[in-house]
Amino acid sequence: MIENKSLGSKIFDVCNVIVLILISLVCIVPLWYILMVSVSSKEAVNAGLVTFWPVGFNLLSYQKILGETAFLKSFWISLQRVVLGGALGVGCTLLVAYPLSRSNSQFPKRNIFMWILIFCMLFNGGTIPWYMTMRSYHLTDNVWGLVLSGGLPVFNVIMAMNFFRNLPSELEEVAYVDGADPWTSFIKINIPLAKPMIATITLLTIVGHWNDFFQGLVLSTKQSNYPLQTYIQQMVVTQNYSTMTVEQIKEMVQLNNQSLDAAKIFIAMVPILMIYPFLQKYFVKGITLGSVKG
């Protein structure tokens, strides 16, 4: 911009920077806070002394977690779920998306399958019928139940389909002239060109599996089969606040080891933080992939 800024404009600039930094802090401080609680002493936490810095710094909580088999088992279940669910989810998504990205002349029945997909995206049987069905398949208390019970990720399929459709078709046409079939063209041409899209849907699938607690809660009859998020969700025993006085609630809070709980919460966040740089790189594309331009 070529103009000289007026005084008001300059004041606005300064305020704007301050406001935006404050907004960013509001987003990050709660996560920082839980980390601080996890490395502070139990007593300091219970006394409400911990805010932004550790008080009585120690790593006891993390040491204790290593001895908690239930927590470690839940972590392992979630890890298995993410790997299996990620592979299956992305694999099926791409396999469905590719044929549906063909034109009506190449694949005349395409629209029928498209409408089935759209219908499944808009409508579902509801929680209770879904739960009954999963139970009738004996998908309770095992990792396959967690992998499969979410169903085909229809939204990802549509995203992938739109991406395949927008790829230039010349390469493929040349391959067909050379005698290639759709399978070869899918593996050798479309998949390599679709790497950014595949990264996006892989990340979305992984995050979805890692973050889900509901399927783990409903489909597990035993605590030892909980995935990590369900374990965390059930961590503090649900109590009836309505019959308790303020003192009783405070007392109950003291009995919990808040520092240990905070450490578990933080560890459950670590995988997301680890893939966050990739998420950031690809998810903006993910949003815009969802739509077709004009």
């Binding site: 911009m1 070529i2 704007n16 920077v17 935006l20 930094i21 907004i23 987003c27 990050i28 709660p30 806070y33 609680v37 409400g48 805010t51 099926c92 998504t93 396999l95 469905v96 590719y98 044929p99 549906l100 002349s105 005349p108 399958f113 499944c120 808009l122 409508f123 579902n124 049987g125 509801g126 019928p129 879904w130 009954m132 069905t133 398949y137 499969l148 019970s149 169903g151 085909l152 229809v154 549509i158 067909y176 079939d181 759709p182 995050v207 369900t230 969700q233 961590m235 606040y241 609630i249 405070k250 809070v253 808040q258 709980d261 919460i265 459950a268 966040m269 997301i272 998420l279 949003i287």
Partner: protein
Amino acid sequence: MFNKKFLKQYYFMLIPGFIWLALVSIVPMFGIIMAFQNYNPIDGILKSQFVGLENFRYMFQISDTKQVLINTVIIAVGKMIGNLIVPLIFALLLNELCIKKLFRPIQTIVYLPYFISWVILAKIILNIFGYTGPINAFMQHFNLEPVNFFGRPDLFRPLVIGTDIWKGFGYNAVIYLAALLGIDPTLYEAAAVDGAGRFSRLWHITLPGIKTTIALLAILSLGNVLNAGFDQIFNLYNPLVYSTGDVLDTWVYRAGLVELQFSLATAVGLLKSVVSMILIALGYWLADKFAGYKIF
């Protein structure tokens, strides 16, 4: 170009995904019959007594459902409005940022909560707003009585709406920021030459430039009218705030999977599914008609 051998391969590729879809998404749809039955697990879905619309009639008789519906709509609409406006304001502020070096770091930080589960965020939020948390500790400095934030019916809705906006505004702003980038920069230069101030440029160029995007997002959020956010509320609420915080999804969960009133819960769930489907379809149709937005 049509080729029979090719067609066979296309079908072959569709098989795994559509089997999965059929087993997990389509088969449960038949379970909707339960909503019209007096379902009894011993008799199963084939032999349970058929009662027609009895469950729906009963649903409207119990006082619970009315309150639950009101809670759902208030929380959901509050979120829809907040999630439309707050990210817009944030995007506009970020767009006006004069220190360009800060742009990336700020964006990186504000997206983060979006990717973290409600289970974890709810634990953190309950911790922060709890009796031994920093907010009550801070209030004690001013000799204020400690507040049980998530135990007060009057505070529950604003807290739920507020924390939802907090989680998502960074992510939701991305679409606005993309739209802002699409505005022709020469328009700003021309306006500056004409002596337009910053505010008038915002009013006459920026906002008109992204008004389609704003309208599109508003239309597409229509389908959420009955969607108050199960994960969030389930992890934040407790019996103290049922009066203002219990929503359709949490009610269905408790009625169906805790109290085992399968038929009633299915009926309420079905009503929600149908209304939501109509609203989402309407949203897509309007988006296509007025903004040329197609999902496929």
